[in-house]
């Protein structure tokens, strides 16, 4: 089942590329391909039994001599993220509907990307996990480089160099770990770590391997100071690709932390939790304050995304700083907050990029200073935009708040001072987001805006699932949290020591 979910998009991509005449119907094929995958994935996640651990397992020997299996399954950690990919992928295809040049290549790259994302989230063996991880990178590179904005070449190259360097470090670290422990299997490695085998086998190398594995994820999340690739890449990528990057790719880093680093190197995180916490905190503040001074709307959103994803890392590292489990189980709350934040931010940020991209479509500029008074001309657009902005700045009963309050509730009990400083970013977020609204929508309309068109109903339909979801997450988060509840309880206990 999972294999089918994973590979249907790539089959669709092959169909677009190889079948004669398929080029003219590349869009419907891409839509159908991603939609089938999505529906299957949603079906699987609905069938996920909350009372049990790993489910829907498929395990086949692949290269037995080096312990490589094809091993996929769904547990509490990836269920929500698979759901996220499933929800976003058809919307992203729809958001790309206006692509005209080289549409075949575009859609096949996009579909390959979806396959890689599904694969990376379901893989339980390092070997093919890494293949998918890298495979997600390559289409993104080409999509930015071929279809991006003016600065696309530079952005694509720095994106590629950063992530590849990180990946190489991670690969080397994991290979070393394999040589010492003889396993590529995440579940097995986790058990080995729990039994103390990992730390005893690695000995003095523990710190280096920990660092190497972290580095790849560090870049992907990204955390300060390895974040500079992010803003140009998000800003220059075509809008649907920005949606993929911010909606799903940035979650891969956090997911990697929870899948690899936390179970395998819990002592490493605990030992360095103060440094890591400070790094996450700096990233939070950094993103928020950088966004304050931007006028390019996509850059603002990119920095805002940097800030929001760093909250997840902040929660994880705060758990690392915990001393055991207290009566309110703050570690579990913080980590569940991180899980929900991944989902909520994925949904919200993808929506924001989509709707911000419309600005460039209709007005031909990404600079917020070129706009004004759109509220009167495009009320529907203003409504959707404002909705997503308020979700992003943490308005209660919308997605962002539910996740952030969990993170803060947990983290405050663990590290009050860090959390109090992190709250400053909430203020900065409110300032820059409201400034955008003020600039774009209020005041007198510019003379040049006379011919601006309201967004169509079709575009509202594309975005509306995200809006509905935002409300659902915000009003009753328990539905989504239940998916990961059991898993996170164990994981946070493991990390909190």
């Amino acid at each position: 089942m999972i294999t089918a979910i994973t590979f249907i998009p790539v089959l669709a991509a092959l169909a677009i590329l190889l079948l004669p005449g398929a080029g003219r119907v590349s869009k419907p094929i891409a839509l159908v391909g991603s939609l089938i995958s999505s529906l299957l994935a949603i079906y699987v996640v609905i069938g996920f039994n909350l009372e049990e651990g790993l489910q829907f397992v498929e395990k086949y020997e692949w290269i037995p001599s080096i312990g490589v299996d094809y091993y996929v399954g769904i547990d509490g950690l990836n269920a929500l993220l698979i759901l996220l990919v499933a929800i976003l992928s058809p919307i992203i295809v729809l958001a790309s509907w206006k692509i005209k040049d080289k549409a075949n290549t575009y859609f096949s790259l996009l579909l390959i990307q979806f396959t890689a994302l599904y694969g990376a989230f379901t893989a339980l063996n390092f070997f093919h996990w890494f293949i998918f991880w890298e495979a997600a990178l390559v289409p993104a590179f080409f999509l930015i480089k071929l279809y991006g904005g003016n600065g696309r070449h530079k952005a694509a190259i720095s994106f590629f160099i950063f992530t590849v360097l990180g990946s190489v470090a991670m690969l080397l670290g994991m290979l070393f770990l394999y040589l010492k422990t003889g396993s590529f299997d995440f579940i097995e490695l986790r058990q080995l770590a729990a039994d103390g085998v990992v730390s005893s086998k690695l000995g003095d190398w523990y710190g280096w391997i920990f660092l190497a594995v972290m580095l790849g994820l560090w870049v992907k999340v990204p955390l300060f100071p390895l974040h500079s690739w992010q803003a140009p890449a998000y800003a220059e990528a075509p809008v649907p690709v920005s949606m993929v990057l911010t909606g799903v790719m940035s979650k891969m880093g956090v997911y990697g932390f929870l899948r690899l680093v936390v179970p395998i190197f819990p002592e490493g995180i605990r030992e360095h939790s103060d440094i890591l916490l400070n790094v996450a905190l700096i990233t939070i503040i950094w993103g928020a304050f950088l966004a304050l001074r931007q006028t390019d709307i996509k850059k603002v959103l990119a920095y805002s995304s940097l800030n929001h994803v760093a909250y997840c890392m902040f929660a994880i590292f705060a758990v690392g700083a915990a001393n055991g489990i207290d009566k309110i189980n703050a570690p579990a709350i913080a980590m569940q907050g991180a899980m929900l934040q991944m989902f909520a931010h994925g949904v919200g940020a993808a929506g924001l990029f989509y709707i911000a991209g419309k600005l460039e479509d209709v007005g031909g500029s990404r600079d917020i200073q070129d706009f004004g008074g759109l509220g009167a001309i495009m009320p529907r657009y203003a409504f959707v935009f404002g909705f997503l902005v308020f979700s992003s700045l943490g308005l209660p009963f919308l997605a962002g708040f539910a996740a952030e309050i969990l993170i803060f509730s947990g983290a405050f009990a663990l590290t009050p001072i860090h959390t109090a400083i992190a709250l400053l970013a909430l203020l900065a977020t409110a300032i820059f987001l409201l400034t955008i609204i003020q600039r774009i929508f209020t005041g007198q309309a510019h003379d040049t805006h006379g011919d601006l068109k309201e967004i169509s109903i079709r575009e509202v339909m594309v975005i509306s699932p995200l809006l509905v979801l935002t409300v659902c997450i915000g009003v009753y988060p328990t539905t989504w949290l239940n998916l990961s509840n059991r898993f996170i309880e164990t994981l946070s206990t493991l990390l909190a020591g």
């Binding site: 720095s158 100071p225 950088l290 001074r293 209660p396």
Partner: protein
């Protein structure tokens, strides 16, 4: 959550915020015409009012009773983050006031906004506001209270910026949201702290809620947690920061006067009667926490007292009718804080009723004043400058009389509602802290003075503006009359109200002190007569200098400029914030340059590899070389394999000969 059990549980309280929510969603999605929108919103709020009155009636006579109904919002690893509703006399009276005044203002707005093409949107926002306000009143969870608190903030943002085509309105909306958000961060820390310390978000939860005596005792036993406060005091102070933001106390008061950019009913509903009172309500709700630490109460009275004085001073020198009322609101909110703090210091548990009662009376007379001002502004052709009014009394009798009723209540003229409530505040302050008492007393004197000044400007003399002054339609004047009745007479039920509001002890300690009563008479009458003395015969045109300004030009100039609070923030906080952002951007720039350099180096190394090693060694020598050899050798092969049959045969023969020779040689 049990919404349909109307007898045992109090889950039905949730209907009070849900009704306007339904209206808001309907209005947002269906976008009916303005009139229909108004009717939908008013109908929904009427239902809410019905439930609110049921709640209010239920608390009447059951002061110390606290009924709760809690339900789980999020469950994580066996820990519940709970929501709930609470019904006690505080909830009951606040609900009744908010929905009653809300309903009057809705009705007023239906007429006031009837010319606006976005009237439907306006009622949608108003409904959202009522959701938040009523939700925060019924909330039994500090988290839930905070969530509705933020919804209120959103509604305030939307309504202040309702006429967003005016840049000033848009800026004021943003300023309001962000300034209150600064306070909200304090609130957030407070609630996180409470969760950390008590493990629950609930106020009342069968003995283990935050506000229940055992929890408070446990919190207070932790002395000197932060800044010399005890465990309960810290939470109280952080919550108070939230209240400071929402209620426009010093130093976060700057947003409230600007918020007058919104339509006048909004100013009446949100920025006078209800939302700004939410801060006071929060302090009243969390009052046991404040009681547990006198230092927290001291902070409350000092902030409150200073705010009252500061705002009253500024109000003297303003010319915008709504702005004067706005500063007056800030000042009165300060007095409410003084009432709560001083009440807590003077009579412990009973203190909550002192601030809360002023909140209730103030809500009525200030809503009345704002709606009256709206009516006058409407009558004078949307003019807000009092220098361009004058002589309005004879043209708009009902509005003016209602307005005057509100004014004397605000001035604490004896036996109006304001007199009873303010009297109690001064009494408590007298007991608690003499300095704060004199500050509050002076602020009250100034209140009487500036209100008289305003009335002189507006009602006396001849009309100085242009056009024709006309009375407003009955849909606007009827709410005014109703509010006026309440503003004048609410004091006579004060004894009942004090009783009802004493939800903590159930017993009211009646305070009496003849000195204070005499002082408060002097303040009210003295302020009014002083005002009349100065302004009754003064020239008040736009070109004339205000009489007080003639007397003390420089200090009056400061007051006209609102004591430079905004400018101060521009110079300090904004600069600092901007500098921080600039510094971070600069460092980011540096990092980016480093990244570019690193990328360049990497690509140079790459060039080296691809240019030298790759191209020369691997490509040319190894790969290309091999290919060339193979190609060349194929020439030879091609020569041999020429398809010439006898050629092959020759080679076969030659091979056979060679093999034969070898065979012969080796066989030897």
């Amino acid at each position: 959550m049990n919404l349909f059990d109307f007898s045992d549980s109090v889950g039905w309280l949730m209907w009070i915020p849900i009704c306007p929510l339904i209206a808001g969603v309907v209005l947002a999605l269906l976008k009916p015409s303005g009139k229909v929108s108004a009717m939908v919103a008013i109908a929904a709020l009427t239902v809410s009012l019905g439930f609110s009155l049921k709640a209010f009636a239920g608390t009447w006579g059951h002061e110390a009773h606290t009924l709760t109904h809690n339900f789980t919002w999020i469950q994580i690893a066996g820990v519940n983050l709970e929501f709930g509703v609470v019904l006690n006399s505080l909830t009951g009276s606040m609900l009744a006031m908010v929905s009653f005044i809300g309903l009057l203002i809705f009705i007023y707005s239906a007429s006031y906004m009837s010319q606006d093409e976005r009237m439907g949107r306006f009622f949608c926002y108003l409904s959202i506001f009522m959701v938040g306000m009523l939700g925060l009143v019924v909330a039994n969870s500090v988290l839930m209270l905070f969530m509705f608190w933020e919804i209120v903030g959103l509604a305030s943002y939307l309504l202040i910026g309702f006429w967003f085509h005016k840049p000033s309105a848009a800026a004021a909306a943003k300023k309001a949201f962000i300034t209150t958000r600064i306070g909200d961060l304090g609130f957030l820390i407070g609630l996180l702290w409470a969760f950390k310390a008590t493990g629950t978000f609930l106020f009342f939860d069968g003995g283990v809620g935050i506000l229940e005596s055992s929890t408070i005792a446990a919190l207070a036993s932790n002395t000197n947690v932060l800044w010399g406060l005890n465990g309960a005091g810290v939470i109280a102070v952080f919550l108070f920061i939230g209240a400071v933001g929402k209620s426009g106390q010093l130093p976060l008061h700057v947003w409230l006067p600007d918020a007058m950019e919104g339509p006048t009913p909004v100013s009446a509903l949100i920025h006078a009667a209800t939302m700004v009172a939410a801060g006071v309500f929060l302090v009243a709700r969390a009052f046991p926490l404040f009681l547990a630490d006198t230092a927290a109460l001291e902070i409350v009275i000092w902030i409150g007292g200073l705010t009252a004085l500061f705002a009253a001073l500024i109000a003297i020198a303003q010319y915008d009718i709504k702005r004067i009322l706005a500063y007056s609101t800030v000042s009165q909110l300060g007095l409410m804080m003084v009432g709560l703090g001083a009440g807590g210091l003077a009579i412990q548990d009973g203190g909550v009723s002192i601030g809360m009662f002023h909140l209730l009376t103030h809500a009525f007379f200030k809503a009345l004043l704002f709606l009256g001002a709206g009516s006058i502004i409407h009558g004078c052709g949307d003019e807000q400058d009092i220098r361009l009014m004058g002589g309005v009394f004879s043209k708009m009798k009902i509005s003016s009389l209602a307005y005057l009723a509100g004014t004397i209540a605000l001035c604490a003229f004896p036996f109006t509602s304001g007199y009873f409530s303010k009297d109690q505040i001064l009494l408590s302050a007298w007991e608690a802290n003499k300095t704060v008492f004199w500050i509050s007393a002076f602020a009250s004197l100034l209140t009487a003075f500036y209100m008289t000044r305003q009335c002189c400007y507006v009602f006396l003399g001849k009309y100085r503006g242009e056009g024709h002054v006309h009375e407003s339609p009955p849909l606007m004047t009827v709410p005014l009359v109703i509010l006026a009745v309440f503003a004048l007479l609410l004091g006579y039920v004060s004894e009942h109200f004090y009783h009802v509001l004493d939800y903590l002890s159930g017993v009211h300690v009646h305070q009496h002190n003849s000195t204070v009563v005499i002082i408060s008479w002097i303040i009210a009458l003295g302020g009014i007569s002083l005002g009349l003395l100065v302004y009754a015969r003064a020239k008040m045109g736009i070109d004339d200098v205000d009489p007080v300004k003639r007397l003390m030009t420089t200090p009056y100039g400061w007051l006209e400029n609102r004591l430079y609070a905004d400018e101060l923030y521009q110079l300090t906080a904004f600069k600092l914030w901007g500098a921080l952002a600039k510094a971070i951007s600069a460092i980011e720039g540096l990092i980016y340059i480093m990244v570019v350099v690193a990328t360049a180096i990497v690509s140079m190394i790459g060039q080296f590899f691809s240019g030298t090693i790759d191209k020369k060694l691997i490509d040319q020598v190894s790969f290309d070389g091999t290919c060339k050899r193979i190609y060349e050798s194929s020439q030879i092969n091609a020569f041999i394999q020429n398809g010439f049959l006898q050629g092959y045969l020759r080679i076969v023969t030659a091979g056979a000969v060679v093999i034969g020779i070898l065979f012969l040689l080796l066989a030897r």
